[in-house]
Amino acid sequence: MDAARGYWERIPARGWVLASVVAVLAFLYPSYAGSLAGLPAVGVYVPAVDSMVVMIVFTMMAVGLNVVVGYAGLLDLGYVAFYAAGAYTAAWLASQHFEQWTFHLGSAGLSPELPGIHLSLWLVLLVAGLFTAVTGILIGLPTLRLRGDYLAIVTLGFGEIIPQVVRNGDDIRGINFTGGSFGISPIDAPGFGETLSGAGLPVNYAQSFDRARLFYWTAVALLLFTVFCCVRLRDSRLGRAWIAIREDETAAAAMGVPLMRTKTWSYAIGAFFGGIAGAYYASFKSGAFPADFYFNISIFLLCMVILGGMGSVWGVILGGMILGWLNVEGLATIGSEIGLQDVPRYQFGIYGIIIVAMMLFRPTGLIPERRHKREMEEGVADTPLYDVSHGGGGQEGH
């Protein structure tokens, strides 16, 4: 075991090697999901491909939230606002909602006479990301002057305000913006249109027999993009400034880090990925509904970050996939396997227990951030609090 580990540690750039292997396995998932599901005993727990899409989209949001909470140490309890902003951007720019106008730009596989604004969904994803980043800056400017608990309370407020705005946004000076409590649906699917279909690319995901797989592959690609950007940023000048702020705001400012600008950037970047994920999910579900944007989503995403390990991208992916799976399929499957049909009704109780257990036994998460891991391995001279994490680390066989 130790020999194998020693060998592994000598491989250069082993993080990227591991990441590439995982990425390849992820892309191939639809081709072996069926065989996995056929396995005795464990087969029922294997998620279907379209469940995987939901899990990945939520994981992507968790990775975005991790920039705010994990890197910069800003407790944001209103991340759902960014999800909503992204989803409604998609609803506005790729549906029949504004039927008074007919505007098409790169829309894939739709009749040009179809009323409403129909932009190419690829463009919509980008616009949603940018629009949500601007929303993040606007929310950030008044709130980021606050520290710690106060920030958490104000973001909580914004998280509550957004669904109310959405619910009541169906008659703002006579214009129906959000479709009220009915939401907006259907929303266009991504696709490559007639011109590119010659190259073997699908015209429109929703009209394809391979709908689930296409959405799945694109989701994996989006998650990879998010992870790549977040890892690069973490190791950049900006990433160091975020972590410095998390460690000691006063010292960071004294070292020349502009607090407001740096924090606002973390909000904007976290929001950017949340917006893209929200828009993509709206397209996948073909709808944006106010009931999707409640406070519990913010907490759910935060749970993913805590379970995986705050500040650790790989940890957050793991945490996101585990909780995402429990949410989409896992709890229901477990419930029916053990003969208790209403297990899913206790989902938030179950997530709560998971978080409390993590805090007690492994507060740095399933895959701790590098710097926290280093600390656990090297040991710390003081603070009895960390005895807890030593115990947790030992049981994992590190």
Binding site: R240, A251, A253, V257
Partner: protein, 257 residues
């Protein structure tokens, strides 16, 4: 010698308490100036006004003839005032090297998009920054400690790392807040000669808050004494040591009688 920093009738009130009372203060270029005084005399408050942590109630601070009164800390650092903290404030979970790299923040350019793309310019800048950071660690006597998490460093090394991090901001004026607190006599002696080297080799101007009179008298060109927020004496170490008000402030009235 021109004055690098001029504080004009600087005042700070906390509610009814006057922590710093209309203090005039100048730091000549390439001098080592010490600020001393009994506990609670307002030394750190004065420091915090110079670095923008506190906003002065009234008065003005000129740094290289630029008015820096009320500017935020990061802007003041960018103009060339670096500092250390009385109670060590390192980024505890970051390595020694990363701590120094954060100090370079204002001197580096790497933007968001270019960092994500990993353009050659950003890579080159990062490589140079790493080299410079290692060099600073060596200069401060932390050779080979680059990868160590700063909270695991020995106390004296943490103090040194604070100086290295402050030097990384490329200051013209370095503010050291009780740098030898908690050091043993040997470490203190080493540090005193290190402060001299900072001025001579790095061409820095230094403002020192210090309790250890041996350090103050050994290294300073000028000493300013604060008591209850007021400046009670100013001059060469010899002059200040003989000043009656200073002796009174430190030892009480009976000592002067």
């Amino acid at each position: 010698m021109a004055d690098l920093l001029v504080a004009d009738r600087l005042r700070k009130e906390f509610g009814g308490l006057v922590a710093v009372n209309d203090v005039d203060f100048t730091i000549p270029e390439r001098a080592i100036v010490s600020l001393i005084g009994p506990n609670g005399a307002g030394k750190t408050t004065f420091f915090n006004m110079l670095t923008g942590v506190y906003r002065a109630t009234s008065g003005q601070i000129l740094f290289r003839d630029v008015d820096v009164t009320g500017k935020p800390p990061h802007a003041i650092t960018e103009l060339g005032i670096g500092r250390t903290f009385q109670n060590i404030r390192l980024f505890q979970h970051m390595t020694a090297l990363e701590n120094v790299l954060v100090g370079m923040h204002a001197r580096l350019k790497g933007g968001i998009i270019r960092s994500i793309l990993g353009t050659p310019g950003v890579r080159r800048e990062e490589r140079r920054a790493h080299e410079r950071a290692r060099e600073l660690l060596r200069f401060c006597g932390l050779r080979g400690r680059d990868g160590e998490v700063s909270r695991n460093l020995a106390y004296g090394d943490q103090r040194r790392l604070e100086v290295a991090r402050a030097l990384a901001t490329e200051p013209l004026l370095l503010l050291l807040d009780e740098p030898t607190a908690g050091m043993n006599p040997q470490e203190t002696a080493d540090f005193t000669s290190f402060v001299g080297r900072l001025r001579d080799e790095r061409e820095l101007t230094i403002l020192l808050i210090e309790h250890d009179m041996k350090v103050v008298m050994g290294v300073s060109d000028r000493v300013t004494v604060l008591d209850y927020g007021e400046k009670i004496a100013e001059g060469t170490p010899d002059e200040v040591q003989r000043d009656e008000r200073v002796i009174e402030a430190y030892l009480g009235r009976a000592a002067t009688a």
